[in-house]
């Protein structure tokens, strides 16, 4: 029997089974066939021999506590030795119930007002366990039902009808019904600005209103076609919060312990800047079917503990004092893997890490200089020196896992000869010091290291070396988050290249962000000058179906990269996890946030 090396998905087991002895006997009968979700295909992995072992394993549960575990391990080891099976595989055969894990995180962010903190790389972890969303978006950007069981839209994508699961409740007892969903949609769109409750930045600005048709049906109306609405419901910001919490003032919403969500975990206790302890909600029964589990979580509790020292987080996992360390240094990953720790570098759905060039700042108003930059960057070298093979080459200006992303690697090939030729043609002549000059001015590029990406400066230094060989004079400026926010803006005359890090859930919103239409951000300072780009943007925004939009998106990607408005560096990994080998079965969603809803501990 062929065996999968490591099963990330949980095994399908009867979720409502309480705890061991009597119930376990029943479980033995139901466990056939045990299903693994590995490699995207559902394939039974159970064999008669494994079942026999499993039976022995569960019979030991007549004992309790540590002794039971010890005995189970003994049985498992000796039996598998007889049967010639690796012991580790046995552990997979049971999705263990119970267990507590500790997740070490570098920050717990600023506020806990749901609207203001849902998109945070830090608080997002907690919200992902405490709240549910209307739809689920997996790491490949596939949208599937969750609290919304199904939905319809009109042909122009201006009206959507959501049909909700019934029987879902928030942890304060309020039902998750149509009225609750309308209250959430309203506050996502508008916030309460005077009170300091911000709107959700990426919620469609075209939102008009929502109404409850009956307790389980919501009709949402938009002013313009908004094909991205349904995927947006799976985005960070779109977390469902009890209407009782939403009517509270900002200072009450800021108290995490008073906020009620409908997720598989509830907040047991928390202390600002210290920890958040979540415990499982026993009556949870409405998980997203896409993760292969809908009942209560397997783990009893998850504690998110702030440890700001990067080396301490990793050392604590290595010494067995914690289960997961967030954001270790990429350089440590190789040795951690060799030590047997699980390393995850999930990619979010969004833009790749790259430079948005300002076409109003010379010499980047010259397409040849931009194209020379595009061809003059050795992207493989970035991965080889700054990162590990876990990072992927950019194939477009959006991550390759985004639905609608197409492969344009040819446009991003490293070709120094072509770059030199383009610069020669553009009139930039190499001086004695190797720097190219035109009209007395050196060929310069100022890079402002992205403060939201820990490795940004190291990449910039490498780019300075690579481009230096071609005749560029590269200056690197590294600001803190505050100064960066003040001084570095798209299209600013002092910023020839803006380092982008940005996630999005639906590729349809991309063209709107890049240009200046509809409060767009005008990344390349093109204003209305590029009619082809604007036409593509309008066509994409007006598309009524994903099928009609796909070729337009492909054209947009090819056009932006060949014009070299956007210069990708690598695909973006902003979240790195190091995990103890005894924790299995976690899932990563389209935002690269880890969920331990389906996870369990193995001995």
């Amino acid at each position: 029997m062929q065996r999968t090396p490591r099963r990330r998905g949980p095994l399908l087991l009867p979720r409502k089974a309480k705890r061991p002895a009597a119930v376990l006997r029943r479980r033995i009968l139901v466990i056939v066939p045990v299903i693994s979700r590995s490699a995207g295909t559902d394939r039974p992995v159970s064999s008669h021999r494994e079942q026999a072992n499993f039976q022995m394993l569960t019979s030991s549960s007549l004992f309790s506590g540590t002794r039971r575990r010890l005995l189970a391990a003994l049985f498992a080891t000796s039996l598998s030795a007889f049967a010639g099976l690796p012991a580790a595989d046995l552990a997979h055969a049971e999705t263990r119930q119970g267990g507590d894990i500790v997740f070490l995180i570098d920050s717990l962010g600023d506020t806990w007002i749901p609207n203001n903190s849902a998109i945070s790389s830090f608080q997002g972890h907690i919200w992902g366990h405490v709240t549910d969303k209307l739809v689920y978006v997996d790491a490949e950007g596939k949208v599937s039902p969750w609290i919304a069981e199904r939905w319809e839209q009109n042909p122009t994508a201006t009206e959507f009808t959501l049909h909700l699961k019934s029987g879902v409740t928030f942890s304060d007892g309020t039902p998750v019904d149509a009225a609750a969903v309308v209250a959430n949609l309203d506050i996502w769109y508008a916030g309460r600005k005077a009170e300091g409750i911000n709107p959700i930045g990426l919620f469609p600005k075209t939102y008009d209103h929502a109404e409850a048709l009956d307790p389980v049906t919501v009709k949402v109306t938009f002013k313009k076609p908004t094909l991205g609405f349904i995927p947006t419901l799976g985005y960070h910001g779109s977390i469902l919060i009890s209407p009782k919490t939403l009517v509270q003032p900002a200072s009450t919403q800021a108290d995490l312990g008073k906020t009620a969500g409908s997720g598989p975990f509830v907040v047991a206790s928390w202390k600002e800047g210290d920890y958040v302890k979540l415990v499982k909600r026993k009556d949870y029964n409405w998980g997203p079917p896409a993760v292969g589990q809908t009942g209560p979580a397997n783990l009893d509790s998850i504690t998110y503990k702030l440890v700001s020292e990067q080396s301490l987080r990793v050392a604590a996992v290595q010494s067995g004092q914690a289960d997961v360390a967030y954001n270790p240094s990429p350089q440590e990953l190789k040795s951690l893997k060799e030590e047997g720790f699980t390393v995850a570098t999930p990619r979010y759905l969004g833009f790749v890490d790259g430079l948005a060039l300002n076409t109003k700042v010379a010499p980047y108003d010259d397409i040849k200089v931009r194209q020379a930059l595009q061809a003059g960057i050795n992207r493989q070298e970035i991965i080889d020196t700054v990162y590990t093979p876990d990072w992927k080459l950019a194939t477009s200006f959006i991550q390759s896992n985004v639905p609608g992303a197409t492969d344009h690697s040819a446009l991003l090939a490293y070709d120094p000869a072509k770059a030199e030729k383009l610069l020669d043609e553009a009139g930039w002549v190499k001086g004695a010091d190797g720097v190219r000059v035109k009209d007395g001015k050196p060929l310069s590029l100022t890079l402002h290291a992205n403060p939201y990406l820990a490795t940004a400066k190291a990449i910039d230094e490498l780019l300075a070396q690579q481009l230096g060989k071609l005749g560029w004079k590269v200056d690197i400026r590294a600001y803190d988050v505050v100064t960066f926010g003040e001084k570095v803006r798209y299209g600013s005359p002092t910023v020839p290249a803006y380092e982008v890090s940005r996630s999005f859930i639906d590729a349809g919103t991309v063209a709107g962000i890049l240009t200046n239409a509809n409060n767009g951000e005008n990344w390349f300072a093109l204003d209305e000058r590029d009619t082809k780009l604007n036409t593509l943007r309008d066509q994409i925004a007006g598309a009524g179906s994903v099928e009609a939009r796909a070729p337009l998106l492909d054209e947009l990607q090819a056009y932006l990269l060949s014009q070299a408005y956007f210069v990708p560096r690598t695909q973006m990994v902003q979240r790195i996890y190091v995990q103890s080998p005894s924790l299995k079965g976690e899932t990563y969603n389209g935002l690269a946030l880890a969920s331990y809803y389906t996870a369990s501990k193995v001995d």
């Binding site: 806990w112 926010g485 003040e486 951000e521």
Partner: protein
């Protein structure tokens, strides 16, 4: 005497109020000069996807676009009525936030001070009575060594040895007894060096006095000589150093708390500075100013108890420190 005591204390308290008020205003001005503000820092995170217009409308809605003086006046007037306001970063009441972290820092600071005093006295005792061949000279080098090793280095070494290797404490439980002890050691060692230096210098001076020689000739034991005769006159400058060190403890606790993962005033300041959370910073700075002033006042009040020659209000209205200086030569005679 009692009246003098009270009027002295009253005057110092009035001075303290002025110091705290100045600290409050100064913090406001310094933070206002810095670019950015806590609200826009969060809004400008590219993940949010807010346009510049939206950001400006949110700032205006919260009154953060008003002139600095108007904002100062409104915050000062509520401060004077005892309302510390809401944190701009977390939207929670500042008093709640400080109450959450204060016990941890007070525990750490007092344990560190205890560690520092114990260490300092042990070292000082050793320098007087440890036989030369057992390393008395080496012991005299300890204070300089302690001062030159930063507390975070000591902290990291302690964590790796006692936390990870020996498993005495878990880094994820920084408030456990052992973890607190080692944090106090890391924080207390540099402070002990300063106390020990002053104590050793004074003990050397006292040990050379005739009364010490007399006591020894009468057969008094080392420990009795040390604790009964030498320590008390050497303590006066030590009290000054301890009072000053208290400020150092508050400042250093920021680093120690970060290293040990403790959630105290230091880590609250760190988060608030990073996000320019003005209401919290002002409250903490005012609190620190109050503690500093109070501890120094306490030191001033302790001097006359240690040395009857020190009076708080002499005829020439000498400051206590001056009184000590003029009194010292008399003692030597």
């Amino acid at each position: 005497m009692r009246h003098a005591y009270l009027s002295f204390a009253g005057k110092r308290l009035a001075q303290a109020a002025v110091v705290i008020l100045l600290a409050y205003v100064f913090t406001f001005i310094v933070v206002s000069i810095l670019p950015g503000d806590p609200v826009t820092n969060v809004l400008r995170n590219p993940q949010n996807g807010f346009s510049e217009e939206e950001i400006q409308s949110i700032i205006a809605a919260q009154g953060l676009d008003r002139p600095v003086l108007v904002q100062l006046w409104s915050s000062l007037s509520s401060f004077l009525t005892g309302d510390l306001g809401l944190s701009l970063r977390s939207s929670r009441p500042v008093t709640t936030m400080i109450a959450e972290v204060l016990p941890s820092t007070l525990t750490l600071a007092t344990s560190a001070l205890t560690v520092a005093l114990t260490l300092a006295v042990l070292i000082a005792y050793g320098t007087q009575f440890l036989p030369k061949r057992w390393g008395q000279g080496l012991l005299r080098g300890f204070p300089s060594l302690f001062l030159s090793v930063p507390s975070f280095v000591i902290g990291l070494v302690l964590i790796h040895v006692f936390g990870f290797k020996l498993g005495l404490f878990r880094v994820i439980e920084p408030d456990s007894a052992w973890a607190t002890f080692f944090a106090a050691v890391a924080l207390g060692i540099p402070v002990s060096a300063r106390i020990a230096e002053v104590l050793i210098a004074n003990l050397d001076q006292e040990a050379r006095q005739e009364y010490a020689a007399v006591a020894r000739s009468r057969g008094l034991g080392q420990a009795a000589l040390f604790f009964r005769h030498l320590v008390k006159p050497s303590l006066l400058p030590v009290v000054t150093v301890v009072a000053l060190s208290f400020g150092e403890l508050l400042g250093d606790s920021l680093i120690t708390e970060a290293v040990f993962g403790r959630n105290g005033v230091g880590s609250l300041v760190q988060r608030s500075v990073a996000t320019q959370d003005l209401p919290v910073l002002q409250a903490v700075v005012s609190l620190a100013a109050a503690v500093f002033v109070l501890v120094n006042l306490l030191a001033d009040l302790v001097y006359p108890l240690l040395d009857p020659r020190v009076t708080l209000i002499g005829p020439a209205r000498q400051s206590p420190t001056k009184a000590v200086e003029t009194a010292a030569p008399g003692a030597a005679a």
